[in-house]
Symmetry: D2
Subunit: 258 residues, 4 copies
């Protein structure tokens, strides 16, 4: 039986949030801009056709996106100890671990639902290793997995002020990040604007995952539907825009449930 | 056996071209812009971390992308006969058949290799139904399939002037488009900047597929590796950036071969 | 008496059109995009302040703007016979005659009102040397002047479709351009999207002024108020955004009448 | 004698810094992006012409720019006590005191050179009323003037990291701002990225000038040439890009010295 027949009966969950003018974005990243370049009827062809098209501008870390390992450095070094000096320029971006070097991702995904039927986590909540372990009960996290944390904040997405909350959001601290990295996962993600309890001046989760552990981070996911259907294990499929030299890029990840 | 185990042994082909400053784009669509927003070291955190990030701007039909059905109209009407008047605005885009209404695409894909080991098609070459039928020999195209045409122009991508060629490129004409639509496919694509022999003042292929037939168009694909491996049938996976109201959007499509 | 006292009694006319989402733009130039980056209240400071700011994207020839001499070439050469090969790159723009090399412009300006109290020129109207001479009656055009042509199309600006008119607009042809260049002016401008009767496949006015004559072109001016007040001679003040390597840039020109 | 003859012998100083990829920008504002949209030779017309053009994207407060009064609010109110609620939207910007409501500026300008032939002010230096008074000795600041402070940081502009300095820059505090507002000036400006000693969590200078006093702020000026020529009094000419609803906009200000 061909694989597309298998997939024909699989359930597909869309884990991406939409892009729209006024959408939430971390304050240091450029916002999303949109306009048609032309409207239908502005120009009409010899046999009556017309077309419309669009222009956009955005930060590469705006909307549902994945961080390249080169997004963060520590003591002047990228993951693997590469000194960042000489590896970066404004016009060309980064020459090591940039987003275009991430191969398409098709991996086992695990949803750690931190709230179940309850309300979203409070802004000041630090997700602990114990909470992660409890959410992962009966599931074995394996090397190379994608682990996604549901805080419930995905439902705030349509209200940018509530979602960004002046960058006060729940998430793991260093202890939670270490619990995740110990499992040797490929990437960790969440439904918040930062995979980290913020504000966090030292950004320990980003440093530990990206720089120390070589683990990618995915942010601004929509995990509501997955949680509603009580899916905990799935096939994660995603591939970021292949932007040469970029430190991150939008992606529209999917979860497949056989 | 779980689906990820099946996939673990599948070959994955990346059908997307990269984004970079100076990359090719159809002249009426805005080009791709890129810069870091900050470099590593511009700001250093209390425990020695630093980060870099990026900003981009582009036309939504630039790079490997898919057209929404609302991209074209004919005699003032979209696919399905919807009068476009009242359905569009510069700030909001289109309110019918916009790109964010396309569900994630996981479908059988067919590669019609029009050149095999030969040179790329010449700029003035119109791909005929006979050529399509010959390339599809022994394969049955089914309703809902994704059919991709390889002209060989994908290898010109790194030379924008050669790839755009002052918008003189090979592709199907109306007859070829009708051969495709007769099979009831979901989308047709190619490795050229336009799925149409251009210049074509009346754009008959876009009108026939998008407006008359409700068939999506994918452009600027990289089909070279797929052709090299003589893959003709595969699982196509792709999901465009979910831009509210847009007439098209970037995507990074994958081909899976079990 | 100080110059600012002189100016205090001068009338100042604003010759720029506004920037707004959906504003008119020549189809091959990227449109104007706008969004706030943040709203008041998204973040509130320790003593109650808040701020809002904006992001924009646009083609450098969108809105009221001036063309650098390097905007056009002929037979592979820029003004002065410089071969353009080797002088350009996507990331860096042009290295000869770019917009940032134009010093601030403070020069005598002349309004040639082609319609007076009548209706705007029709789309197919080519402005002839005779019409220019008639509009310039009693005025001597001198070397270094700025000569602005009023066609009346400035009043269409708020209706992008009418203003662009599928790029069918009135303007001078080569004969008119030669009449202007004979006077040795510094720049010529108009209230249309192109200083040229368009469509014009060979773009003779742009070639004659920019390449052959070294005369700048200013487009999308608002000349309505100036005409209403029957001003024909004024001090033109303008300086484009100093964009390194650019072929054109927005400016907000002023006319001063002592 | 006509005004343009007067001006013909005036010295003109360009107070704007250039725009270029990698240029300095306050971290919360989007960076400047640039690319050609096409190169000369990509398309050649019937008689041998070709053209190149550009696309840009940027924050409206990037580069030499002026703040609209609506850029800041205090306790939810704009200058004049207007509650900001209901006056703002991401797509439309601000409906009160936006940048497009500032008429062209032609006013007496005063340079307060805080360093003379000495080195630039240190990053932690707060400019005091006494320093301002000393720099203004023998000059009377009048209602409606433009007062520009030279700290010497303009010469750092070509080194973005030094110019931004992790947003540690010299400037006035509230006391200096009050000294300036007492004179009833129209705008105050400087050669730094912020007209304020930063970091300043409560941003007292911006609040006092924009919100409490209705005085505009101009930032990122190049005052080096003016200072070198020991010009202290001049005609300031400037007009920002007329962006509907924006909280700030680029401008290229000039200083004229009769």
């Amino acid at each position: 039986m061909a694989i597309w027949d298998d997939l024909a009966v699989a359930r597909v969950f869309d884990l991406a949030q939409p892009y729209f003018t006024g959408m939430p974005h971390y304050p240091t990243h450029p916002p999303f801009l949109f306009s048609l370049t032309k409207q239908h009827g502005d120009s009409v062809g010899p046999q009556g056709h017309s077309s419309a098209a669009d222009a956009i501008a955005l930060g590469s870390h705006v909307g549902t996106h994945i961080d390249a390992l080169c997004h963060f450095s520590h003591d002047g070094k990228l993951h693997g100890g590469h000194p960042v000096a000489g590896l970066q320029s404004y016009a060309g971006g980064l020459r090591q671990y940039s987003i275009d070097t991430i191969p398409p991702i098709l991996r086992r995904g695990i949803l750690l639902d931190l709230i179940g039927g309850g309300p979203p986590l409070s802004a000041g909540h630090e997700v602990t290793p114990e909470e992660l372990a409890e959410a992962a009960r009966d599931l074995q996290i394996r090397r190379g997995d994608i682990v996604l944390l549901r805080t419930g904040w995905g439902r705030y997405y349509s209200d940018p002020r509530q979602f960004i909350n002046d960058t006060n959001c729940p998430g793991p601290g260093r202890a939670g990040a270490e619990w995740l990295s110990a499992a040797g996962i490929f990437a960790a993600g969440s439904d918040t604007v930062a995979f980290e309890k913020v504000p966090a001046p030292a950004m320990p989760v980003h440093v530990h995952l990206l720089v120390e552990s070589g683990i990618h981070i995915i942010e601004c996911l929509n995990l509501e539907e997955l949680a509603e259907e009580r899916v905990r294990e799935f096939l994660f499929i995603g591939a970021p825009l292949k932007i040469r030299g970029a430190t991150g890029a939008p992606l529209r990840p999917l979860a497949l449930v056989p």
